[in-house]
Amino acid sequence: MSVAIFGYAQHMRALSVIPTPDALPEGAEPVANVAPVDPGKIDSALGKVAGAWNTESMNELLTDDYYDKSRFQDAMQTEVPKDARLRMNTFGAVQTLQQMIVDDGGQRVRVSTVSAMANTQVEFNDPKNGSLVVPGTNELIFEVREPVR
């Protein structure tokens, strides 16, 4: 005669966290499908940046939470030669990284985070070294706000 022997045992199930999307800001809605921002809009924005750089208008093209924005504004006033100009050469790799809908004073606004690579050059005249061209390649992170229905 066989006798089945059973042992009742309890075990602790390990807590395995299921990855979840990053929480959106308070009041924001997720979008059903991300609509990539038209690269032409980024091209236009870069043109505005080039024209506004080294002018007071540049402040309006930075978000309020741009890191150390006031320090940048001061540096533009005190450190940059008055004749210095920014030229946008090429741009590419435009990607819409994130998109959400927020309520802006009763208006639904689609807020997109877009990255783009830009090749630029700063041009200025130095009394000792003459005309200088300083190239640079940077990844710019844009905030794009569009009212939606």
């Binding site: 809009k41 309006e60 093209l61 450190e79 700063v122 200088l132 992170i141 794009v144």
Partner: protein, 234 residues
Amino acid sequence: MVLAQEIILDSDTDFVFPQDLRDRLPEPASQREADTVLGSRPEENLVIKIRDIRNVSGNNFLNQEQPVLNFNGRVLTSVDDLVLALQGSDANDDDNSTGLSACVGSINFGTSATSPADFRFAGIQIDPNTLSCALRNDGKGNALIFQNPPGTAPQLCTQGIGVFPDRLVGTFEFTAPSAVVTEVVAATGALTTLFVRATNGTEVRIQFTVNQTGACVAAGGEFQLVVSSVTKVN
């Protein structure tokens, strides 16, 4: 063989996602209208601003400290340094910036036990192998000695500052683009740039200003050496 009856110890009825996160999950697409940008001319309502910038190479035109004088992630102190960076001679090589930068500063001229009492000196001492650097004011300085009055006749306190490598030591000598001369006479208050080359081939660019801090009297004048940059260029 009889199988034992399964005994359910407990059941899991908790939701995977907390309620506030479930509220933010999108509804099925068929139940939502497609988001449509408003306006017959959407560009008028479009607002695009820069939130952040990440420098990949070269200049970062939105650098908060120096929008122009920066290159490859480094803030530079002068246009000359920027020119060197553009030429590929990194103005702040990792292997020398710490040592040579020790000479960026100021020192008051002093006297030398082996020179007349009215002579005043400052000096820059550089080890061409380790690139350690130190300012001194005892009449010595293998890279550069600053002397008042200069060695040029008639040797008056008011003539300016004679600058020359310590040729008794012979470690450094002037090199192009500086003229290879016995002595450079630098005017007080003027930013001066000199290039010196060590016997091991190391070339250094030194930018300095000598300020007169006391009137010229019989006992000699009072001066201060201000070094604004010392950089290895080769």
